[in-house]
Amino acid sequence: MFVLGCGRSPKKALVICVAGSTSVQPYAEKLAEEYMRRHKEVRIDIQGGGSSAGVYAAKQGAADLGASSRELVETERDLLEIPIAYDGIAIIVNWRNSLENLSLPQIRLIYQGKITDWAELGLPPHPIHLITREEGSGTRNAFEELVMGKEAEITAAALVQDSNGAVREIVANDPYALGYISMGLVEPRVRAVAVDGVLPTRENVKNRNYKLVRRFLLVARELKPGPCQDFVNFILSPQGQGLLEAEGLVGVVD
């Protein structure tokens, strides 16, 4: 495992170090940018490395805040956890595709390669062009946890793309494609289908009716009053949450 952490120079006492999930990273950067614009004396370093590495860094004290896009496991429960946003994973099809709804088991069977034709889903027969993300991706990780479970594995026949954008681009152009992306990135050329009859809307994510939802967490050993606490307060403030909502996430605070 990589060991993350920020070098501390004695001159700049007001450095906040955030490390972890690459899924959270772009949002954390947006928040940090805005926060630093308001508080010129503070510097916030955002590092990637993955959720596990981020939680580990927070536990070791190498980072002030660890960012995680997965839930904490048993051995990590001693950490303070601060949910900052929800991210829904949308199952998307081309806008010309008339599919309305999939059940969770159906999605699992499709991604296991056991349902391979649209006819099995009540549409005109044609092979499904299945798209997934690369091994190690946070979105794939969450998808595997939420949909596939422990046993089922994503079929080797699935196309693999290395970003949400690439998945969306293919689905937007191919009427027979099916993929999954972060809910905030759905646009008119692709359509999010309902999962077990529930559409991935803000409300459904917030009240947890929609099933494919992951939380973005910040974790820390403790939150001492000071810039770190203040940064967290900013994230949970209407401004911070508004920023996250503008980026397509769903806030945790009303």
Binding site: G50, P127, H129, E135, G136, A156, A157, L159, D162, I170
Partner: protein, 279 residues
């Protein structure tokens, strides 16, 4: 004289430093990748096609097969086209046409591979999907894009090889009553053989090693392809796709993939040297 010796030393040092870079890279790749090969077992690593590195399955057979097929496809397309182009430019074109076309072809080599990939995604992939079926992102798309990408390499080295054949050979052949085409086929091409083989091998090396464009158009699926319309993942794509988040055994497995790639390239080059020397 002292100055002479000094400059010699400097040049020797510079030459060695470039070679030592190669050595360093080799050592580094092997150090990082070999532990995984030892852990999984070479046979299982090379002959299993089950790749799920975060779940402990490290088989790269499908990617080896895909790399070979994509490269072969590129050769089927690129070699006849490139060679024909080189022959026309070197043997049958007036000087004016040649001075215009050769730099243009070399410009083709300067286009970044991501641009080829983008053109492939926007233009070639939908064409394949709509007219031939499948998802479009496929072995075929990869081979076609690579076939185009290796053209400049094959053409410019072949032209150099053909131009290096002395005009005496051509004159002699024509004087004996051979037609121009007979001269090219029976005299010039055999005389330029080693240069042309070098061109083909270098083109092949480019095809095996190309990454960005292939990731964009080949679909990257982990299955052994059953048709040219199936999506495939090459060895290079595998490394580039997954390295960003990989750690531990997963990372080692990607370096081990690099070792396999390295060995393939070395075998290619040795074969080339062997064929050229045997004349």
């Amino acid at each position: 004289m002292k100055k002479e010796a000094f400059i010699e030393r400097v040049l020797l040092f510079l030459a060695l430093s470039s070679i030592s870079t190669l050595l360093l890279i080799t050592v580094f790749i092997f150090l990082e990748g070999l532990p995984l090969m030892a852990h999984v077992g070479l046979k299982k690593f090379l002959l299993s096609s089950h790749w799920a590195p975060t779940k402990g399955h490290f088989g790269i057979l499908a990617m080896i097969i895909s790399s070979i097929l994509v490269t072969l496809g590129a050769m089927v397309l690129g070699v006849p086209l490139g060679l024909a182009c080189a022959i026309v430019l070197a043997e049958f074109s007036p000087e004016k046409v040649k001075t215009l076309l050769k730099p243009t072809l070399e410009l083709l080599a300067g286009i970044p591979s991501v641009v080829y990939g983008f053109l492939g995604v926007v233009w070639l992939v939908p064409l394949i999907r709509d007219h031939l079926g499948g998802p479009g992102l496929s072995l075929l798309a990869g081979a076609i894009i690579l076939g185009i990408m290796i053209l400049p390499t094959i053409i410019s080295i072949s032209i150099d090889a053909l131009s290096a054949v002395p005009d005496l050979y051509r004159d002699g052949s024509i004087a004996l009553g051979a037609t121009e085409w007979q001269t090219v086929r029976r005299v010039v091409l055999p005389a330029a053989r080693s240069g042309i083989i070098t061109a083909i091998i270098l083109g092949m090396g480019r095809a095996v090693g190309e990454t960005m464009a292939v990731i964009m158009v080949a679909g990257n699926a982990l299955k052994i392809p059953h048709s040219i319309l199936d999506p495939v993942r090459t060895l290079t794509s595998n490394i580039a796709l997954e390295l960003a988040y990989a750690s531990g055994r997963h990372r080692e497995a990607l370096f081990a993939t690099g070792i396999v790639l390295f060995v393939i390239i070395v075998i290619l080059n040795l074969t080339a040297t062997f064929i050229t020397r045997r004349r």
